[in-house]
């Protein structure tokens, strides 16, 4: 029982009802399944951290385009599919980390235009294949 720590299971899509949500920080747990695409409607969400869990499936495209997002950390999960395209990413994003997943494709070179983002992404390219 002592080892039974951390949140597990799937995120309910109903979280999208909390439209005032600015921060959703659930890193380092044992959450599984896909990110509910409904979360893409959280227009006030600034920080989404789901790093170090067991999420899988593709990352819903609208998650990268979240209207107010500044920090998006989805690293170290089991996400599959393509690395997001330049057009799908909100230009106000300051921090984007999708490393240590099962994503394929190349980082769009245009991402280097993101002043706060380019360096971090370039450094992490190597960890993606």
């Amino acid at each position: 029982m002592l080892e039974n720590r951390g949140l597990a299971g799937k995120l309910p899509e109903e979280l999208s009802y909390l439209s005032s949500l600015k921060v959703l920080e659930l890193a380092q747990n044992k959450l599984t399944g896909q990110i509910p695409p409904e979360l893409g409607s959280l227009n006030n969400l600034e920080v989404l951290s789901l790093a170090d869990n067991f999420f899988d499936s593709t990352i819903p495209a609208n998650v990268f385009g979240l209207a107010s997002v500044e920090s998006l950390n989805l690293s170290n999960n089991k996400f599959t599919g393509q690395i997001p395209s330049f057009r799908s990413i909100n230009l106000n994003t300051k921090e984007l980390d999708v490393s240590s997943n099962l994503l394929t494709g190349n980082f769009p070179t245009a991402l280097n235009l993101f002043t706060n983002l380019g360096k971090e992404l370039t450094e992490r390219k190597q960890t993606l294949s």
């Binding site: 039974n4 949140l7 920080e25």
Partner: protein, 131 residues
């Protein structure tokens, strides 16, 4: 005699279960059907049904179906029931069930009274501390 009455009152208001009539339950169900599907609210194997049941019959705050807070409280209860192991869910709701969701651990609200933050990263489940 007075003591017996007091004990009964205490039992009535603090008892785990506060069963409402089927008609009343339907009012909650209808209110929450704007958030979750009726199918999930009625399926006893789903956390949506369990969260509805908690709000209707077990929530120490006994919120009326028309209370504006009932929907947000339902969503947070559903979140807990979906992601916490069953024993932890019981413990968490025992600890925080008599509080507004803004005071639940891991939840922060703005001055508007709405939930601004859910932070349960690296969450250490507390069962060993409570029991």
């Amino acid at each position: 005699m007075f003591l017996a009455f007091a004990i009964l009152t205490f039992w009535y208001t603090n008892g785990k279960s506060f069963s409402r009539s089927g008609e009343e339950s339907t009012l909650y169900e209808s209110r929450l059907s704007s958030i979750s599907s009726l199918e999930s609210l009625r399926d006893e194997s789903k956390p949506q049904n369990q969260a509805l049941d908690w709000i209707v019959n077990r929530d120490p705050l006994h919120l009326s179906f028309s209370n504006p807070s009932v929907q947000i409280r339902y969503v947070m209860t559903l979140f807990v029931m979906s992601t916490f192991p069953p024993l932890e869910t019981e413990n968490y709701l025992l600890m925080y069930g008599d509080m507004d969701v803004c005071d639940w651990t891991g939840v922060s609200c703005g001055s508007d009274g709405l939930i601004h933050e859910i932070s349960l990263g690296k969450y250490q489940l507390k069962s060993s501390n409570i029991l």
